[in-house]
């Protein structure tokens, strides 16, 4: 059901002023469109990011904007927030045409945006972050006391718990998000755009956020939620607009949609995200074992405080946790990229702690790093060069000191074909590939070596659903042939779908290791927040 050009005036309700802590109180008509965008076009070099897209959001509505990476959803909202200028199209607010050249203009139109990467200055306090860019009542001097009072009022009205005097660097991710919302509220926003707001939160923090959003909705705020998590969109939105490759697929009322239908709209074909394998395969010997492993982070602080775990042949062990609890260090210690400060790592029963990375790789360890652009590939290398990066000195790919170009080319073409890597040519610079295709490339390189152990860190973060589906399939297939996989992820749905067992990491320690069938997202969420459910 595509949306045409229309002015929906259904269910007009007058009245109710929004309690925004006295900063702004206007009458509004519930369900009247607050912002309408028509025929928006935005071009980036080589890409048509938005191709005549229509979008509208009503007062008191939570409108979800769904699409794969690169579908144009963030671009569309950045246009609305004045960060990009569209080549064509019109924007209306309350039915009147407006031009938005900068975030200042957007804020003036009552539009606030919560970015995926928080836009906070961590050296400043909460109050200073809120006051930044605002006119002070005592210009040119700051009036932080007054701002602080305003923050306290708002935080009471909307249940946004924050200490106004805390420097931002001391706050948790959930608290930082509240500061972001506070910034918009304090500026008198009537509409909030939230760009993937739940990606970084624990399930409990997600619930709290949704409560706040629900309350804002009741008070007439217009909310736009950019997301690719089908489940949460179905749970809380009123309408859903789906974009694909810069084009509008359609706008639909949430009640009429199922997960499968949405996924089809988003990808343009049927998608299989569920676990496909028969249960209970035989797990064999322990392939990877960590005994009381300790390691320091980049700043020299302890990041791993005695991690013990083991992965068996034909098993996927998940590591759940909020980012920054030692996951990165865990992956790096196993891969040999970070010195071990205590304990031991064993592969196939042999201690490998003091082996070089190369020796680990040769002995059957594969690694999919979290920072795929930095650690996974060399951006300015050709696809084929990245495909043989690890083994380029082996006899297979070299003749003495020379590379065996013909063989490398043939081999690369085969992998590109087998792993469905979309690239114009094997000589294409890897940096020009999309995130999903780069991940396929890394997967191809790592899995084609038939590794015994795979360490995959956030393998699906930020890539499109088609590639995710493919990666899931590969991980499960490899597992069935006996590979032991350690899957580090922040996505609980992903872990619950793929893993046999899930270990929860919190502040560098394993809180507990649970069998997938015997646990729930709630239990994992509590463990991720450092709480033992049974000990409450």
């Amino acid at each position: 059901m595509p949306t045409g050009r229309r002015r929906i005036e259904d269910q007009i309700v007058y009245g109710i002023s929004r309690p925004t802590g006295g900063h702004r109180a206007v009458n509004f008509r519930l369900n009247a469109p607050y912002v309408q965008m028509y025929g928006i076009v935005k071009r980036f070099p080589g890409v048509l990011a938005c191709d005549h897209v229509d979008f509208d959001v009503r007062r008191g509505e939570l409108h979800a904007l769904l699409g794969e990476n690169g579908a144009g959803k963030s671009t569309l909202m950045r246009i609305l927030y004045g960060l990009y200028q569209p080549e064509d199209g019109r924007i209306l607010r309350d039915g009147a045409e407006v031009t938005i050249h900068s975030p200042t203009d957007a804020i003036r139109q009552g539009i606030g945006m919560i970015h995926q990467h928080f836009m906070l200055v961590d050296t400043l306090t909460v109050t200073e972050n809120v006051a930044l860019g605002l006119k002070s009542s005592r210009e040119p001097l700051l009036d932080l006391d007054r701002v602080e009072d305003g923050i306290r009022e708002l935080s009471e009205a909307y249940g946004l718990q924050i200490d106004p005097r805390a420097p931002v660097w001391t706050l948790s991710v959930g608290e930082r998000q509240r500061v972001e919302i506070m910034k918009a509220l304090y500026r008198g926003a009537a509409m909030l755009i939230l760009d993937e707001p739940t990606a970084v939160l624990t399930p409990q923090e997600v619930d709290e956020l949704f409560v706040t959003l629900g309350y804002m909705k009741e008070n007439g705020y217009s909310l736009v939620l950019i997301s690719h998590k089908l489940q949460e969109i179905l749970a809380i939105s009123d309408r859903i607009t789906v974009l694909r490759e810069g084009r509008l697929v359609g706008t639909v009322p949430t009640g009429e949609m199922s997960r499968q239908e949405l996924a089809r709209m988003m990808v343009g074909r049927d998608v299989m995200l569920e676990r496909t394998r028969e249960d209970d395969i035989d797990v064999g010997d322990v392939k990877l074992r960590l005994n009381d492993v300790k390691a320091l982070d980049v700043t020299g602080q302890p990041a791993l405080r005695g991690v013990s775990l083991s992965v068996q042949e034909g098993e996927i062990l998940g590591v759940a946790g909020i980012s920054g609890n030692g996951q990165r260090e865990l992956a790096e210690v196993i891969a040999g990229l970070r010195p071990i400060a205590g304990g031991s790592v064993e592969m196939d029963g042999t201690p490998i702690s003091d082996w070089t990375t190369a020796r680990r790789t040769e002995s059957g360890l594969a690694y999919i790093p979290e920072e795929r652009m930095h650690d996974g590939i060399v951006r300015d290398f050709a696809v084929s060069e990245n495909l043989v990066l690890q083994e380029h000195t082996s006899d297979k790919f070299s003749n003495g000191i020379f590379l065996a170009f013909d063989y490398i080319a043939r081999y690369s073409r085969q992998l590109v074909q087998d792993f469905y890597i979309k690239t114009p040519d094997i000589r294409t610079m890897t940096r020009n590939l999309s995130g999903g295709n780069i991940q396929r490339l890394i997967l191809a390189r790592e899995l084609s070596r038939r590794p015994k152990v795979l360490v995959a860190a956030q393998p699906t973060r930020g890539i499109d659903i088609g590639a995710i589906e493919y990666i899931y399939q590969q991980l499960l297939e490899q597992r069935d042939t006996g590979m032991a996989t350690l899957l580090i992820s922040e996505d609980l749905d992903e872990l619950l779908a793929l893993c046999d067992r899930i270990a929860v990491i919190y502040e560098g320690q394993i809180m507990d290791t649970l069998i997938r069938e015997e646990t729930t997202a709630e239990e994992l969420g509590l463990l991720m927040a450092g709480v033992h459910p049974q000990k409450q």
Partner: protein, 310 residues
Amino acid sequence: MIDELFTISTLIGILHSCVRLATPYLFASLGETFGQRSGVLNLGVDGIMLMGAFFGFYVVFEGHNLWVGVLAAIAIGVMMGLLKAFVSVTMQSLQGISGIGLYLFGLGLSSLLFKTLIGSVEGVSGFRQLPIPLLADIPGIGHILFNHNALVYLAYLMVPASWFVINRTTLGLKIRAVGHNPEAADTLGVSVNGVRYTTLMIGGALAAVAGASLSIGLQNVFQENMTNGLGFIAVALVYFGSWRTVGVLGGALLFSLVNALQLWVQALDIPVPSEVAVMMPYIMTIVVLAFTARQIQRPAALARSYERGE
């Protein structure tokens, strides 16, 4: 000989020189602090100082009031700051190398103008000692702290003034935000480039006054390259002071103390090779910078140009 260095009157003399000699460092480093807190590294300070020193001197040499000389220096400093801002903010060239370019430009142009307009080393009567009534009569301390010329006092007044602007005004909040997270500031409608233009103009003005404080305040002559790299030390002092005004003050005093000591060692004919004495401040710079590796306060966006998008 060496024991002459430790008499009371010599010590008072050294401390007096120390307070006096800190003047150009203070102006220049405080100016550089503004730029760096907003994320722009300006290595061209020395060039701006030379331009300020020349114009301040030339105006006074032509018979104008000393304060007109200072104003002329400020004007040229603002222009040099604008030039730096255009190159590294608008055109987004690498900040380090464009600063070196600005330095060489200032060095060359001030020398050229000096040769064409003045020609030979001449003196002017610069700012006079302005003992502060009563305070200057306090024994010892009075001479050390309160018996200087107006530019010296002004330099010290700039310390709390700069602190106030950075920490207590809306402009200061913007400067701190832009230096640490320009993206965040931009999304709140703060003009990142506007703030950086402003700090570079402030920095240029202060650097030029630093130069003038040499040519019409402390030495009362102009010579080619008379700053002798002092502007680079001023940049180093900002790092030394961890981007805080008080830290900059401490650094400037420590540095000028070594300098004063060096001058007195030479003046008293103490048998230390003069090369060694002259080297002391520079060795000091290296040592101090080597030990100020902790960069807690470092503006995260320092030396990174900002472009919207991505």
